[in-house]
């Protein structure tokens, strides 16, 4: 792959770990991603995915939910348990149950087969792009301190481990406390979607964020739901 002219020309934009048992699709993904300037590593079974992840340290993981051996959901949980690396699921099912199960197991985003290559690349780019690349800045929301440049969140000096996506979501809300963000706006600002109506992504990730930062996730006080509109950060 090193002799791929595109990679040589533009330099690597990151390494993608593709976990998929369908060899044709895996190969096609490799071709498309290489064309776009990514490096790829392919893993054909769920069992070996974790080992390969540890070995290769990819920048992003593309994970098929239906895998022989270890199930995609379990792979996702295992990777998430030790890393905040962006995970994008590939799924053949658009049923809410499957999507929500995948998102709850730790995936940041999902893409339903069949997808267009450009769509996939846009999702991967969006996940690799970071929000807080600006000057050092510290934001305080409720009893949380957000270090924007350092990508860390602390409560009374103790760090809270957030995935990059959860960090972006919290940062987006915390920058404008009291402003209510609709799910569509959040999808655009955090996930980089345009004209998307799928709010399951937002709902699941707000739940995950709450479970990490709220004192009582059942009665959230920092990320509050505004019925019929969306969410807002409650500075008080």
């Amino acid at each position: 792959m090193d002799n791929d002219p595109n990679t040589a020309r533009s330099g690597s934009k990151g390494t993608v770990l593709v976990v998929d048992d369908d060899t044709a699709l895996a190969e096609m993904l490799t071709i498309v991603l290489n064309n776009e300037g990514f490096e790829t590593v392919v893993c054909g079974s769920g069992d070996k995915a974790l080992a390969m992840f540890r070995e290769q340290r990819p920048d992003i993981v593309l994970l098929d939910l239906m895998l022989p051996g270890m199930d995609g959901v379990d792979v996702c949980k295992a990777i998430r348990a030790e890393s905040g690396v962006p995970i994008v699921m590939l799924t053949a099912k658009n049923d809410t149950v499957d999507i929500v199960v995948g998102l709850e197991s730790g995936a940041d985003d999902y893409i339903v087969k069949p997808f267009k290559p450009k769509e996939l690349v846009a999702r991967i780019r969006a996940r690799l792009r970071r929000l807080g690349e600006e000057a050092p800045e510290t934001i305080t929301i409720a009893d949380l301190t957000i270090d924007v440049a350092g990508h860390s969140v602390k409560r009374s000096g103790k760090a809270i481990a957030l995935t990059p996506l959860e960090f972006d979501l919290l940062l987006c809300l915390a920058r404008k406390p009291w402003q209510v963000f609709t799910r569509e706006v959040l999808l655009e600002q955090v996930w980089g979607y345009r004209h998307a109506a799928d709010t399951r992504l937002v709902n699941v990730h707000v739940q995950r964020l709450r479970s990490k930062i709220e004192h009582d996730p059942e009665h959230p006080e920092i990320v509050v739901t505004v019925r019929g509109v969306g969410y807002k950060a409650n500075a008080g």
């Binding site: 369908d22 044709a24 699709l25 096609m28 993904l29 071709i31 498309v32 064309n35 239906m66 053949a92 099912k93 049923d95 809410t96 087969k113 069949p114 997808f115 267009k116 290559p117 450009k118 569509e184 004209h195 109506a197 799928d198 709010t199 399951r200 019925r227 019929g228």
Partner: protein, 557 residues
């Protein structure tokens, strides 16, 4: 005060009508109540009839014997009195007064200490007889002359025989009366030839008392009998109704999906046989439902498998086609064109597959709502925004005309979005209209969205056909436009899943309008739509501030 009175009157009337309603309700709903009430009413009628006949017969028997006895006693008394008068030598009229007084006393004494009659002697018979001014009335203590009925007075004064009638004894103190047999006959004082009427009044207090006793007895016996009959009817119907009610409860549970419920069968009577048949029916239902469930599960499983199996290779093909498409500038013209066609047809294939899978999901009953509260006006705005480019390419003006007022509705946002998308793209693709207007409105019950065009319209009867799968108004024309032919069918299923309506109106040359109506809460009550299905098309339409004013008349002409 008046207000209070009126309120009381209303409360009273209300509780009365409530009571009547409750009675009517139990009459309609409970066989037991109906049987008990009708048995009670019928037996009450029978008991009243029997009681009436019995009291009549007893009363007749009592009065008849008393009458016979009284007449014979009076006869004997009168005869004796006449004999005593005949034996009495009369010298003068003053003496006659004394004689008559003695006579009455004698007759009174004849009855002894337990005398059971009163006496009245009136006379002498002649002009003015019967009026109180006439002297010569003799009587036992306290009896008033009003006791004598005028008819009897006339009969006795006019005839020679013994006359009787039923009447009332009234006393001079006025407050006491009692029923009586009154018997009277004329007697003559031989010396003077004066004629007097002697009356015997036999009070029937004893008989009246006995009759009262019988009536009271009959009445209480009737009440007890009625209560007994009601209790028996209640018990008997309970024996029949209880198993029926049990069967109803079990049937309700079966209907609610608890298919393993069965009736408890005891004995071999009709009720037990009903139970056996009922259980057989339940078992057969359970078997068939299980089979159907299994079939539906297999169908869903199949759909899901097909989905997965088809989608993975399709993804590869689509990516390969995309790579080829991107590189088509390097190909010769025929290969380049092939790459373009491959790309375009893959789009169609993909949307067809997606729609087919969606339809089979509806058919398998696997479609579920993911409810949240959304603003329909926002969705309409977004749909217009998303289709703006497509509409502009075809020279169609696409606008939303809503008051800018939020219309919140509990709905599955993906499905709702898909409905609007389908309606808008349908209008863009098929109406051949220059203008398409979306309108959003809501009331307390529901929300509505209409998509109106001023294009070719619909032929009569087509307003229902448009929702059929793969239906095309004009096969030769429509296929070139693209689309899967499933969009409106899916939109209809989506609307119905929410408990809402999706309807179409159209007239040739006047355009068409599709109207979506959803209840505010999913599967809530929906009786009317906030927007009319047939557009009114006034030349000036009120359009809210955020939207530009549209000249809708132009589209119509």
């Amino acid at each position: 005060m008046q207000a209070t009175a009126i309120r009381w009157w209303h409360t009273g009337r209300e509780s009365l009508s409530k009571g009547l309603r409750a009675l009517r309700y139990s009459w309609l709903r409970s066989i037991q109540a109906r049987v008990v009430i009708s048995t009670l009413v019928l037996s009450a009628i029978v008991i009243i009839l029997v009681g009436w006949m019995l009291t009549r017969q007893v009363a007749e028997g009592l009065t008849d014997s008393k009458r016979d006895q009284s007449i014979s006693e009076a006869q004997a008394g009168v005869d004796q009195a006449q004999r005593a008068l005949d034996e009495q030598p009369v010298t003068d009229t003053s003496n006659q007064t004394q004689i008559l007084t003695d006579l009455v006393e004698q007759q009174a004494e004849r009855g002894g200490t337990s005398r059971n009659y009163e006496l009245l002697l009136a006379g002498p018979i002649g002009p003015g007889f019967g009026s109180d001014t006439r002297p010569g009335i003799r009587r036992t203590d306290g009896v008033s002359k009003d006791s004598l009925p005028p008819d009897l007075l006339e009969q006795v004064s006019g005839g020679n025989g013994l006359y009787w009638t039923y009447g009332q004894i009234s006393y001079q103190d006025g407050h006491q009366t009692s029923p009586a047999v009154i018997v009277g006959q004329r007697i003559e004082v031989p010396s003077s030839g004066d004629q007097y009427a002697l009356f015997y009044l036999f009070p029937m207090n004893d008989q009246a008392e006995t009759l009262g006793l019988v009536k009271r007895g009959l009445f209480s016996a009737g009440i007890i009998l009625l209560a007994l009959i009601a209790a028996v009817a209640w018990l008997v119907t309970r024996q029949v109704v209880t198993p029926v009610r049990l069967a109803r409860r079990i049937a309700e549970r079966l209907a609610a999906g608890r298919l393993e419920e069965r009736m408890h069968v005891r004995g071999q009577d009709d009720i037990a046989r009903l139970g056996i048949s009922f259980n057989q029916m339940a078992a057969s239902l359970q078997r068939q439902i299980r089979q159907l469930e299994e079939l539906s599960r297999m169908q869903r499983r199949f759909v899901s498998d097909v989905s997965h199996e088809l989608r993975t290779p399709l993804t590869t093909v689509r990516m390969a086609a995309d790579v080829l498409h991107d590189a088509r500038v390097d190909f010769d013209p025929a290969t380049a064109r092939s790459a373009e066609l491959l790309q375009a047809e893959l789009d169609r294939f993909e949307s067809l597959l997606t729609d087919l899978l969606e339809v089979s999901r509806f058919d398998a009953g696997a479609a579920r709502l993911e409810l949240e509260t959304v603003n329909l006006a926002d969705l309409a705005d977004r749909a217009v925004e998303n289709h703006q480019a497509l509409a502009d390419r075809q020279g169609i003006r696409l606008r939303v005309a809503s008051g800018g007022r939020p219309c919140l509705v509990e709905a599955d946002v993906r499905r709702l979005d898909r409905i609007i998308r389908n309606l808008v793209s349908n209008a863009i693709s098929y109406s051949q209209s220059e203008q398409i207007v979306l309108r959003v409105a809501c009331d307390d019950q529901g929300v509505a969205l209409t998509v109106r065009d001023w294009g070719v319209g619909l032929q009569p009867g087509e307003s229902t056909l448009v929702f059929n799968r793969f239906w095309r108004a004009d096969p030769s024309r429509a296929r070139g436009v693209g689309g899967t032919g499933l969009g409106l069918a899916i939109a209809l299923e989506d609307a119905q899943l929410h408990g809402g309506w999706l309807q179409a109106w159209g007239e040739p040359g006047k355009g068409a309008q599709f109207r979506l109506t959803l209840p505010r809460r999913a599967n809530g009550e929906l009786r009317r739509s906030p927007l009319p299905l047939v557009p009114r098309d006034e030349p000036e339409i009120q359009i809210g501030q955020p939207y530009e004013r549209l000249d809708l008349g132009a589209g119509e002409s």
